[in-house]
Amino acid sequence: MDDPVNEPQALEIEGLSFTYPDGRAALADIDLTVRPGERVAILGPNGAGKTTLVLHLNGILTPSHGAVRVDGIAVRAPNLKEIRRRVGIVFQDPDDQLFMATVRDDVAFGPANFGVPRAELDTRARDALAAVGMEDVAERVAHHLSFGQRRRVAVATVLACQPSILVLDEPTANLDPASRRELHDILTALAVTVLVVSHDLPFALELCPRAVVLCDGMVIADGPTAELLADPALMAAARLELPFGFDPTVVAGVHER
């Protein structure tokens, strides 16, 4: 985090608070800085405010207090289009994200909105699908793909916008182990900043060297994933639990490899 000042951070959140219109506080004074190319896990139990935080990153929700900047650009009304191009969100249910008649149309939807010329859309879609190993399904209907394939296509719909930050909300939910492995391989091969919101702790540890623990709308820890997961007091406080028999200290070496 001691980068030269002239290079903007991929993501800067300063004193972000958010209160729902009904007075319920969802996020309280969140500070988070993510360097370009970093992969960060956002961990926390259900209802910790993870998804609410994600919706602030591209300006779908507006903070009650504080500010969010992406690549040095403030997340504010006049910049929203540019912000939404730079922040690609992969939502939890791929069926929410794949709404066009064919996979190719879905992948081209984002770039088309962001003003990519029609002649280029095909290449964009093909490249994005190739990045997730799904180029063969371009003409298919999303409904007939397996869940793992739909998840990968959902990632492609966002990659096609060429984002600088990729945000994934519970990316491993409902995935079988093989699809989970494939998703991991796809994400590690990408040269973008990645934010993973999850309570799949082994996946977070495998993918993200750094983790942030969110609890009751507050950041209660920020550090190397392996260290956080090995801290029983922190884990208990955040209602996070490792799978039976999983020892983060044993697998901690994965990132040094």
Binding site: K81, D93, F99, D105, R118, V141, H143
Partner: protein, 255 residues
């Protein structure tokens, strides 16, 4: 999975009819159906010509007869009403195996039967040779507002998910011993329908969120050019309705 390249009613084959530009096919089918409708009902020969043309098109497109025949079933509810016409019709009556039938009613039944079947058959052939996304694109090209084609697209996309949802709910009901026998049991069914509605509504909100996140600002973007529809494609496609109109005019003049 394993469903392959399913596009609803589309039957993947390689034929000139499959390759023809969707906009041309759509326009030609609509005009063809119109020509069938304006043909006088007494001109049996004209309907024979139309039937041969439709069957010929199905043959050219290598479509399986049985599938096409099964798809014609969709018109049965409409025909059910037509069947009553000879019994309730006014005017002259004829005796057919001891049953007195109205002549006018018989003509009415024939009229609906012939025109309905031919119209549905022509549409069935068009839909079987055009992918849904191409159909939507064709409609767009024919200047249908993009908002409407977008809504149709959503119906196609989420209809399947809704059916799946309804099925899992039915299985969940039956797994808990639900066995609807008397009218009081319909309550659970109504509750399921309500839940399905709320779920769909919420899904709509989530889909909108996902669209907004990818830069949607209220207008559906034009994604892929349907490709230039050549004059040749138009000429090929419009030969069908033009021919049909010639038949229709001939049927009126030599009546």
């Amino acid at each position: 999975m394993g469903a392959g390249h399913h596009h609803l009613l589309y039957l993947e084959r390689d034929s000139g009819l499959h390759r023809l530009a969707p906009a041309c096919k759509l326009a030609a089918t609509a005009l063809f159906v119109f020509a069938i409708v304006v043909t006088p009902r007494e001109a049996f020969w004209a309907f024979g010509v139309y039937a041969i043309v439709v069957l010929g098109l199905a043959r050219v497109a290598h479509l399986p007869w049985l599938t096409l025949a099964r798809r014609l079933v969709i018109e049965l509810p409409f025909l059910a009403f037509a069947v009553f016409l000879p019994f309730v019709g006014q005017g002259d009556r004829v005796d057919v195996v001891g049953v007195s039938l109205s002549v006018d009613g018989l003509w009415g039944t024939w009229n609906i039967l012939a025109k309905g079947t031919l119209g549905v058959a022509a549409t069935v052939v068009m839909v079987a040779t055009t992918r849904v996304d191409d159909l939507l694109r064709g409609l767009e090209r024919l200047r249908l507002p993009r908002l409407m084609t977008a809504i149709m697209g959503f119906m196609v996309r989420y209809g399947g998910i809704l059916t799946d949802d309804a099925r899992t709910m039915r299985i969940a009901r039956e797994s808990r011993g639900y066995d609807p026998r008397w009218i009081g049991h319909t309550r659970a069914l109504a509750a399921s329908a309500g839940t399905l509605f709320v779920r769909s509504y919420e899904r709509g909100e989530r889909v909108h969120l996902a669209m907004t996140a990818r830069g949607y600002d209220g207008t559906m973007p034009r994604i892929i050019d349907a490709g230039p529809t050549t004059a040749r494609a138009w000429l090929t496609a419009l030969a069908l309705p033009v021919g049909a109109f010639v038949v229709a005019v001939a049927a009126w003049t030599i009546r």
